[in-house]
């Protein structure tokens, strides 16, 4: 189960989606919107996705995880659009025969998702508006030296 949605996520639905015969352990990771980033208060977040590529890459995360651990099933949900403090941004549920594998596989899946899935978040708050991981949209200081590539 792989979903990108503007609607609130459901960790319960993801957990249920991976429950199956042979699963001794299910690990469900929930990524939540925090009110603090780099010490600055955040009011809300905006998530934007390159949707077709994000879905492809979420599938790739599932494939890789399933290759490396004895995964019975994986469910991934990621939310896009405006998210408030306390909302769930991402849910990953993984079921395996045993709990050690389930923990490792779920950890891998979320770390890998953050690496390859084209979804970006913008923080709105005390620090202004910032795309996390990127520069501010339009340079406001004149004379910033261009990086030599």
């Amino acid at each position: 189960m792989i979903e990108l949605t503007y609607d609130p996520l459901s960790p319960d639905r993801c957990t249920q989606a991976v429950r199956q015969a042979g699963s001794g352990g299910i690990v469900t990771f929930v990524g939540c919107v925090r009110d603090l980033s780099e010490g600055k208060h955040v009011e809300y977040l905006e998530y934007e996705a390159y949707e077709p590529m994000a879905l492809n890459k979420m599938r790739q995360v599932c494939d890789e995880t399933t290759e490396m651990w004895p995964v019975k099933a994986i469910a991934i949900q990621h939310r896009v659009g405006r998210l408030e403090i306390g909302d769930d941004a991402v849910v990953i549920a993984v079921s395996c025969p045993h709990r050690a594998e389930a923990f490792e596989a779920c950890r891998y899946a979320i770390d890998r998702l953050k690496e390859i899935v084209p979804i970006w978040k913008k923080e709105h708050g005390e620090g202004g508006e910032t795309w996390v991981g990127g520069p501010t949209a339009v340079p406001t200081e004149p004379g910033i030296p261009l990086s030599q590539d």
């Binding site: 084209p118 991981g133 910033i144 261009l146």
Partner: protein, 91 residues
């Protein structure tokens, strides 16, 4: 009027900071055969010089796969500009 044999039509998809800087989600560009993502970036810089400051933050995807900036494009390719996605803290 352009000849199909000497120019490519490239659909450029813009997200996040690139969308904000160029003011569009999607731009269709005509570019010479042999053009690369780097060449397309230069064309976008001509429209908006502010794009130069974003080059260090740019990864290119063609048809939904990350490619190097010097990959040769084909007619009808979908080129997306991707900024780094922060993963939050991994510790």
């Amino acid at each position: 009027m352009h000849s199909a044999t000497t120019t490519l039509t490239i659909r450029v998809l813009l997200f996040a900071v690139f969308r904000e800087t160029l003011g569009d989600r999607q731009i269709e560009l005509a570019a010479p055969v042999g053009s690369t993502p780097e060449d397309i970036f230069r064309l976008l810089e001509e429209r908006r010089p502010d794009m130069s400051a974003l080059r260090p933050y740019t990864t290119f995807a063609v048809n939904r796969e990350v490619v190097s900036a010097d990959t040769v494009l084909k007619d009808g390719d979908e080129l997306a500009l991707l900024q780094p996605a922060s993963g939050g803290r991994n510790d």
